[in-house]
Amino acid sequence: MKKVIIIGHGPAGISAAIYLKRAGIDPLVIGKDHGALEGYDDLVENFYGQEKPLEGVTLIQNGIKQARGLGIEVVSDAVISLETHEKGFTVKTANHVYESKTVLLATGKKRETLNRPGFNKYRGKGISMCAVCDGFFYRKKKIAIVGCGAYMLHELNHLKRMTKDLMVFTDGHPLDADIDVPVVHDKIKKFSGEEKISHIETKDHSYEVDGVFIALGTPSSVEFASQLGVIVEKGNLVVDKNYQTNIEGLFAAGDIIGGKLQIAKAVYDGMMAADAMYDYLKKKK
């Protein structure tokens, strides 16, 4: 069992890793995409110590190299689920299962995954972000899952226990999983219905559904955290002054806890969270 797993390899995750390493703890960093720094068109020019403005993605890649150079293990993999148990946490990625005493969530914030008409209206009225939480309400009903990879497969396998009437919508993405349910490859135009959702509409078709589960790309920290019961307010994870969530041993840092969405603040968060996690682990002994 690891002492610390850090999910996210951006400024918050990597600086936490560096400070933990210096404190004598070997963290495992697991990261996949690049949060807000991906698709950021301008160069980063307001962060200390860079001779020339850099692309966000380059900055992240430099950070990963820096960490590896210091002997920190950084794995490139997509975390698809996070679970708690008596001794700590189980972190499942597309390829592995890891155990850890503590976890730091530092995945940053992506843009809304499905910004289409009806998405916000039917959130909680047929659209769900969590199969484990809400699958029960759709027993023997018509369920659609939006997704294309390992995360979708994880949610699909859970929902198979609830109903046989399943469909997958890839929303225009290539399907990257071997599945035995009907697949719609077209992009989703809108979600429609009355009080509750009743249809998913694409360019040419309208598909009847009772429930829609979103499992696109890799889940964000906010999704993991909500599934575990972390307090989430205004889209931010709520942490105490020690960067700990309301779940013991689960910490969070960077954009996902809100405040200034800046690299400098994420780096600071990472350092502070590392200190707090070190203290937490010391007390636990």
Partner: protein, 103 residues
């Protein structure tokens, strides 16, 4: 005391209550709901005499859950004068829940 609301006592305890009532729709198998329990306990201490706090098991009392369109848990609904006043999904802090209650 955090109430356990049921089909039997819902009308008297919730709809006919003369103070605001916060109801958490939950189930024993719902992980996030387990995290709400201590928050409700603390909230209940804070709002004693001003409001009622309780939970309703969606497995046992599915009729009421259906009536209020609960399709995701935890769902938290605040009732005032027998009507739905506020509703929210997911785990919230004690302070936010108190604001929903408006007391």
């Amino acid at each position: 005391m955090v109430f356990d609301f049921t089909t039997e006592n819902f009308e008297n305890q919730v709809l006919k209550s003369d103070v605001p009532v916060l109801v958490e729709f939950w189930a024993s198998w719902c992980g996030p709901c387990q995290r709400v329990a201590p928050i409700l306990e603390a909230l209940d201490q804070d709002v004693q005499g001003l409001a009622k706090v309780g939970k309703l098991d969606v497995d046992e009392e599915s009729k009421i859950a259906d009536e209020f369109g609960v399709m995701s848990i935890p769902t938290i609904i605040v009732f005032k004068n027998g009507k739905v006043d506020q509703s929210t999904i997911g785990v919230q802090s004690k302070e936010t829940l108190r604001k929903l209650l408006g007391v």
